[in-house]
Structures are given as C-alpha cells and as structure tokens.
C-alpha cells in the first residue's frame, strides 16, 4: 500500500510541477506580449538618427575574446569595423590560441606591436603583446596567455578605454545598428548597468559580406528546435524577466555593460563555466546590497546572429556547460534565494531559475522514467497517459507559437511564409526525441558539475565568406 501511495504522490508531484511551470511560461508570454507591443509602439525611425546626431550616446569598447578562431576572425573583425556607431574601438583578445589566429590578423589588418602600459583594474593572465593596426586606428589586438574566456574578458576590460563595453563571441554577426539600439537604452536611462539584445540563429540564413541578407529558418529538425528555443527564450522569457527586473542571463554572445559597474563588481570570475550568467547575478546582488539603482534590461530588436551547434556532440556539450553554469551561479549566490533584501532578484529571479530552469530537466527526465516504470509495472493507464502527453505537447506548442506570433507581428524577420511554416512544424518535431535527450543530458549535468572544469568550448564553425552563402546546415564535420 505504501508503494502505491508513493506512485500516486509521484504522479501528483509531476502534475503540479507541470502546471506550475507552464503557468509561469504562459504568464511570461502574456507579460512579454504587452511589453513588446509597448516597445514596438515607442519605436520611431527618427530615434536612432537622434542618437547619431546628438551627443547622447557614449563611446563603446567592443571586446572579442578569441581562441583558435583563424577561420572566422578576419571576416568578423571586418564586419565589426563597419558597425554603425559614432565612436568605438574593437579589442580582440587572443587567449593563447594554439593556431595562428594572431598571424592571420596581423596580415589582414597590418598590425604592429606596441608597448602598452595598461592599468590593471582586474587581475588577468599576463599579456604577451599588444598590437595596433596601421589601417584601422580603432582596432587593438591583445595577445595573452591562455586563461579561459573570463580571463580574456577581464584582460579586455583592462585595455578598454571607453565607459561602455560590449562583449561578443568571435563567431557571431552583429546587425550594423545593433549596438546603436542598445546604446540608446543606456543613454535614456542611467540606471542601466547591463543590457542584452536578441540572439538569433544564423544557420540557414543567407549571408553576404558579413551581413545577413535574408533570414531563413534552418531545415534540419534539430537546428529548427534550437532556433525555436532561441526565439522563445529571448522574446518571451527574457522580455518578461527583464520587465520584472529579474533577468539573470545576458548572452555572452551579445551584451553591453557599464564598464565601471563591472569593474567595481570585480570583473568576470574565472572559477565558473558560465561567466556571463554569474556576472549578471553578481551585478544584481551588488546593486541591491549597496542600494544603488541598477537595472538589467533586454532590448528586443538589436540582433546578434550566432552559429549554433549542428552536431549532437557539440550541442550536448554546450547544454551541459549552460546547465552547469546555471547550477554554479545559483549555488554561489544562494544567499539571495527568497531573500526579500534582494527585491525581485531574490524573490522572483532566484526561485524561478532554481525551480524551473535548474530543476526542470530533472523533473522532466524523472517523468519520462516514471512513465516507463509504470508501464513496466502494468499500472500505466494508457488513455490517460496519451491524453496527458498530448496535452503537454499542445500546451508547449501554444507557447512556442505565441512567441512566433510575437516575432512575426512585431519584427517580421522571415520574409518567406515557408520559413514560418517550417518553424511551426519544427515545434511539433521537437517532441520526437530532441527534448527528451536534452532533458536527460541536463539532468546528467547535476553530476558533471562536480567533475568537469571550465575550458574553451568550440562550436564547429563555417567561415563567413564575402559571397552570398547559405549558412551551414549539414553535420559539423
């Protein structure tokens, strides 16, 4: 009898968790809807021009940490140099690459060695050399000993000379007005310490001269599922969390920060796998502890296009890293959990990320196992199981389609109806294996978090060539 009770309670727990999780997501969608509509209505074509014309903007340093990026680094620096922003510098930090990243850069941009007396605001591994470019006065290349991505970013912070900085991945593409759009938010509201833009999936789109000329959805189900995750996560999740001032993640692929705030908080920590998330949590914590106004916002229209893993191995490795980073950040700042002193960050953000983002995959994986166990015990009521599963899928698809609708009505990135149809089909297909595998993988991260140490993680990349090409969809190797 006790055994039966356990089974019943197990089911009840899963059911309640499922309802809570999806209600949270549904309310996010609703919040995001109102917020995005409001944002969209405020947009005015003259606004960006105002930022350019007046002196409301602040100059910005763009930090590009690079580790073995010889394939993509030149085209990326080139596209960054054409960024539509009045005053900026680009700092490429070569983090002890074992390939000839620096030589490739040296040839392409006419780099020459310069002596540099750098103020050490945050400790980082020693510099081997600092280069400047003959052709581009705003380009700086720092060659330093290997120390990981956070160390590279810290080094970049020391070299950076402008009050704002933007961290981007060496393999991402920024829309030319992306920085301008985020910087406008900084100019309007001085309480902002960090802001993130939307990160979208580059795979499948047509790229020419380092620019996305036509956004298209990827064709393979596994890439589609990821593309949908990005749209949903950014457009509904982050918008809503930012609205509640509880945004705890700004993608390392594209985020803009106030340099003084980050330096005061101590820069990036080197002992975590997800330095970007940990930093944001710390910024929240610091501003609450010192009672300084500090806001972390999400701006939905500046786009950073990123290449996602196209083979399962890199995908699983990436997700493992994210999950471990999340767990580590939450554990490091466990003090904030449900602590009213930290305001919405402690009362909303921490519980949300802990309950749903961290434990979510565990419960999901447990649920799948539970069904199998019930079935093995012959106690599975098939009709109920099927119905419930259908219900779960449909609920999830409602949320995904909701995000797609927001995306389409407000920003209209896909010009072909076909791409949209493919995305909708993808939201069904994500249930045929993709979600399950990720749920198990992320549950496994609870174990690996104790074992693995941080290291540079690579996504197999395609060089961004000048001629129009469809970004890679085939397997990674």
């Amino acid at each position: 009898m006790i055994f039966e009770n356990v089974l019943d309670i197990g089911q009840l727990v899963i059911l309640i968790y499922f309802l809570a999780l999806n209600s949270a997501y549904l309310s996010f969608t609703v919040i995001a809807f109102f917020d995005l509509v409001k944002y969209r209505r405020k947009l005015y074509r003259g606004d960006l021009r105002v930022v350019l014309t007046e002196n409301a903007y602040r100059p910005i340093s763009i930090l590009v940490p690079a580790h073995n990026e010889r394939e993509t680094i030149v085209s990326n620096v080139r596209s960054l140099l054409a960024l539509g922003y009045p005053e900026f510098e680009i700092i490429v930090i070569n983090d002890g690459s074992t390939d000839d990243t620096v030589d490739v850069l040296r040839q392409a941009f006419g780099l020459f060695l310069v002596p540099a007396a750098t103020r050490v605001a945050i400790k980082s591994k020693p510099f081997k050399a600092v280069y400047r470019s003959l052709d581009h006065p705003s380009l700086v290349v720092v060659d330093k000993e290997n120390g990981g991505k956070s160390d590279a970013l810290n080094a970049g912070l020391n070299v950076a000379s402008y009050p704002l900085y933007c961290s981007i991945d060496a393999d991402s593409l920024l829309e030319s007005d992306a920085v301008l759009r985020v910087a406008r938010a900084f100019a309007e509201d001085e309480r902002i310490v960090a802001a993130g833009g939307i990160v979208r999936v580059l795979n499948g789109s047509v790229v020419s001269e380092g620019r996305v000329v036509e956004a298209q959805s990827p064709g393979r189900p596994m890439l589609l599922a990821q593309a949908l995750e990005y749209i949903r996560g950014f457009l509904t999740g982050r918008t809503a969390l930012a609205r509640l001032n509880s945004l705890m993640i700004i993608s390392g692929a594209f985020g803009i920060f106030r340099k003084d705030a980050v330096i005061a908080a101590g820069g990036y920590r080197r002992d975590t796998v997800c330095e970007d998330m940990e930093l944001i949590v710390r910024l929240h914590r610091r501003s609450r502890e010192r009672k300084e106004p500090g806001k972390v916002i999400f701006v939905p229209d500046p786009i950073c296009w990123t290449q996602i893993p196209s083979d399962w191995r890199s995908l699983l490795r990436q997700r493992d890293r994210w999950q471990r980073g999340l767990l580590e950040s939450l554990w490091m700042h466990r003090r904030m959990f449900l602590n009213p002193r930290y305001g919405s960050a402690g009362l909303i953000a921490m519980p949300y990320y802990t309950l749903f983002e961290a434990i979510g995959p565990l419960v999901e994986a447990f649920g799948y196992l539970f069904i199998v166990a019930l079935w093995l015990l012959g106690r599975l009521e098939t009709e109920f199981a099927v119905l419930f599963f259908l219900f779960a899928i449909l609920y999830d698809i409602v949320l995904t389609v909701g995000a797609l609708i927001l995306d389409d009505l407000l920003f209209r990135r896909y010009s072909r109806t076909f791409d949209l149809a493919r995305m909708i089909a993808g939201s069904f297909m994500a249930y045929l294996g993709y979600r399950q595998i990720l749920a198990f993988q992320r549950s496994l991260s609870f174990v690996t978090v104790f074992i693995k140490r941080r290291k540079w993680e690579k996504v197999k990349r395609q060089a961004i060539s000048p001629a129009p090409v469809r970004m890679q969809e085939a397997g990674g190797r």
Partner: protein
C-alpha cells in the same frame, strides 16, 4: 573620357543607403554630360570607385558593410595621383565628426539636413577645382 591624371572626368559616385536621400543627391548632382553612379553600401562604393575612378565621391558616413570613414580612408589611400575628391555628407551635426572626416582626407563636409542648392554648389566647386589643376 579621361583627363590628365587618370580620373574620369565628370563622374560622380554617391554612397548612400537611404533610397530617398540617394535619389535626392543624384538629382542634385545630375547634369548633362555627367555620369552619376550610386552605391548602397561601402563595399559597392569602393568597387565603383575602383572601376570608374570618379572625380568626386559624395559619401554618407553611416553606410553598411564598410562604414563611411573606412571608405574615405581607403578611397584616399588607393593610388594617390588619381584619387577622387570626397564630399562627406553626414547626419551627425557635431563638429567633432567634421574634424575627423577632414583629418581622414575629406575635401568638404556638409551636414544633413542640407539645402539642395548648397549641395549643388559644393559639388560644382569640387569638380571645378579639379578641372583647374
């Protein structure tokens, strides 16, 4: 039709990504016997400059792919004797931009919004100066 130092006489390249502004500048610059070419981004502008070796480039500073400043520097660097004259047209009203543009080799600077007559006069002057030399 080429003049003494190799640049094509009466050829103007306009680098401007906004369709309306581009059309306005083109209409201002157009004269019988003048060739006016338009580019929507920096890369295309450089290509046109290389191919046609124009006498004058009217350059917006905020154009995609390669920014106006870069086009300016490259246009002034490539093959010094036949380099084109450059008129920078920018939405940035600050004088800092004008100083920077002139340092990078711009021959003239005009802030938007502009008076069509003034733009026409400056274009004529820049083309005329070349003819006198």
């Amino acid at each position: 039709m080429k003049n003494g130092n190799g640049s094509q006489k009466n050829c103007i390249v306009i680098a401007e990504d906004d369709d309306l502004t581009g059309e306005l500048i083109e209409a201002v610059a157009a004269r019988p016997g003048r060739q006016v070419l338009r580019a929507n981004d920096g890369e295309a502008a450089l290509r046109l400059i290389r191919e046609h070796q124009p006498q004058l480039v009217v350059l917006d500073l905020f154009i995609p792919i390669r920014g106006g400043m870069e086009v300016l520097r490259l246009a002034r660097k490539e093959g010094d004797p036949k380099r084109p004259r450059v008129l920078v047209l920018s939405a940035q009203g600050q004088l800092g931009t004008e100083e920077e543009a002139r340092r990078s080799g711009a021959d003239d600077f005009l802030a938007k919004p502009f008076i069509p007559g003034e733009l026409a006069a400056r274009i004529d002057r820049l083309l005329g100066k070349e003819a006198v030399q």
